[in-house]
């Protein structure tokens, strides 16, 4: 068992190093451009997507279609689903003990952007 411990630990740290090296040396992923294709989405339109299957959320001024992502979210559904159809910026920024989501989450979120949130729009 001692040998298993040593080899598993060595493989683990080697893999951590490989992931780190992969992020340093790989070309940065193309990020979807935000701007001209962005359309304005009002609070009323946002509110029509309050079900988990068609879940949209407004976060930091953007609107994100998170219906496909929700099953992947680590927390239990009751934590995240109530924010569907709403401005979830505050929840996003204060995930745990006042801390915001990680950079990794920010980067993943971009992939789901569909528009700009215009709270007073029609």
């Amino acid at each position: 068992m001692r040998k298993l411990y040593i080899s598993a630990t060595a493989v683990f740290w080697a893999m951590v190093f490989v992931f780190w090296a992969g992020s340093v040396w790989s070309p940065r992923a193309e990020q979807p451009t935000v701007g001209s294709a962005d359309r304005a989405i009002s609070a009323a339109e946002l509110a029509r997507h309050a079900l988990p299957e068609t879940c949209w959320m407004a976060i930091r001024g953007g609107v994100y279609d998170l219906g496909a992502y929700l099953p992947d979210h680590p927390s239990r559904p009751q934590v995240i689903e109530p924010w569907c159809g709403k401005d979830a910026t505050e929840a996003y920024n204060t995930k745990t003990k006042g801390r915001a989501h990680s950079k990794s989450a920010d980067e993943m979120l971009i992939n789901y952007r569909i528009g700009t949130f215009v709270p007073d729009g029609h």
């Binding site: 630990t9 683990f12 992931f19 940065r28 992947d72 990680s102 990794s104 980067e107």
Partner: protein, 417 residues
């Protein structure tokens, strides 16, 4: 050992992780993320089984096939859980590769994250360091025991990691059970609430570095059979200060008024100190454990003892002898080291069914190929082995080579690390 007892530990080890996985199986995720999460839950279940197996309760030990077997599975489940929990973050990061290598690394990178991930990392590193200490055989037992206990903190921290991720529904009861088991072990096992008070009635030197101690009960005596072992902690006496830690000792005989005799060999700091023990020293005793010699048949028997491993055999012989032809091979470094040898010779001389072969082997592992009977003399024999783990492993190997199947080889190591 009955089939049910034999199966109890494998079944428990399978059932708890399977139950956790069934309860918390993720749906609609990518295959890699699903495997990562399932592996995390299996690791979590194995850790809970691992905690349960460190309890020192005679009834539980009886159900699960003995304390020594529980400790063996405690080691197995601990290392298996560790390997799975190492794979858990690596697989989560692998899932991130579908987005980009940057996302994959950020899934792992502790500096970019917050408490939900930091707590997971901290638990994993504590587990890593705690297990590294576990494998340090030369560390003094007291320091080893405290550092090993830090693994309990790693388990609690790992469960807290899940709660911070928002997965509190199944985790809170698991956290409560884990905390209860750790508290149970600390209060009943380490602080001795499960132990009975005894006092040292006498102590006599039976070989170089070995004393036999008689313990008189001060309250209800424990139910002990010859050949079983008990956990004993020695405290203060008139001119003696014990180390207050529970150590396993085999009962060498049970006297009138439930007086327990144990053989103590100086194998570590605490047992070296016990060599100078005096009557009147307070002790606490837990047990009894083990069924090493309890299920003997009428078949011819080979008993092999290494050093102080002779005590369970002596316990049986003192309690009334044997009913089957028995050979006792007693291996020692030197004749002066051989505890109870004059008494064993006297018992052998008075017992036609017993043949005693005492061999001084020096410090090296003895030449078992020559010492053990040939295959034709072992046919139909039940073999009972008790001694240091290295010796028992070597004995098992030679006996298997001589055609003895595993179910005819019974053994007890007297090491709990």
């Amino acid at each position: 050992m009955s089939a049910l007892r034999w199966l109890s530990l494998p079944l428990l080890t399978l059932a708890v992780p399977a139950g956790f996985t069934f309860w918390a199986f993720p749906e609609g995720l990518s295959p890699v993320r699903t495997v990562a999460i399932v592996i995390g839950w299996i690791g979590c279940g194995l850790l809970l089984v691992n905690l349960l197996l460190m309890l020192r309760e005679p009834r539980l030990a009886g159900w699960l096939g003995g304390l020594e077997r529980m400790y063996l599975w405690h080691h197995r489940t601990g290392v298996a859980a560790y390997v799975l929990l190492l794979a858990h973050p690596l697989l989560l990061a692998t899932d991130g590769l579908a987005d980009s290598p940057t996302v994959a690394w950020q899934t792992l990178a502790p500096l970019d994250e917050s408490w939900p991930v930091w707590s997971g990392w901290l638990a994993l590193v504590l587990l890593m360091l705690g297990l590294a200490v576990t494998f340090l055989r030369r560390m003094p037992y007291r320091a080893w025991r405290w550092l090993h206990a830090a693994l309990g903190a790693a388990v609690l921290l790992g469960l807290y990691h899940l709660i911070l991720l928002g997965i509190d529904e199944p985790v809170l009861p698991i956290l409560a059970i884990a905390a209860l088991i750790l508290g149970w072990r600390a209060v009943r096992g380490d602080w001795g609430l499960a132990a009975q008070p005894y006092v040292v009635a006498s102590a006599r030197r039976v070989a170089e570095g070995t004393v036999e101690i008689a313990l008189r009960p001060l309250a209800d005596p424990l139910a002990v059979a010859p050949g079983q072992f008990i956990l004993v902690a020695f405290f203060a006496g008139p001119n003696f200060r014990g180390c207050g830690e529970f150590h396993p000792f085999t009962v060498s005989s049970i006297g009138r008024d439930h007086m327990l005799h144990i053989g103590v060999r100086a194998l570590g700091d605490c047992t070296r100190r016990i060599q100078s023990i005096q009557p009147g020293v307070a002790a606490r005793v837990m047990g009894a454990f083990g069924n090493f010699l309890a299920e003997r048949t009428s078949a011819p028997q080979l008993w092999v003892a290494g050093g102080i491993g002779v005590t369970p055999f002596l316990g049986v012989l003192r309690a009334g002898g044997i009913s089957a032809p028995t050979t006792l091979l007693y291996l020692n470094r030197s004749e002066t080291d051989a505890a109870f040898l004059p008494e064993l010779r006297a018992i052998a001389a008075a017992t036609p069914l017993l043949s005693l072969l005492a061999v001084a082997t020096g410090s090296a592992l003895p030449d078992l190929e020559h010492l053990l009977p040939e295959a034709q003399h072992l046919a139909g024999c039940e073999c009972y082995l008790c001694g240091p783990p290295g010796l028992v492993a070597a004995l098992k190997r030679v006996l298997r080579q001589r055609g003895i199947t595993a179910r005819h080889i019974h053994f007890e190591n007297f090491e709990f690390r």
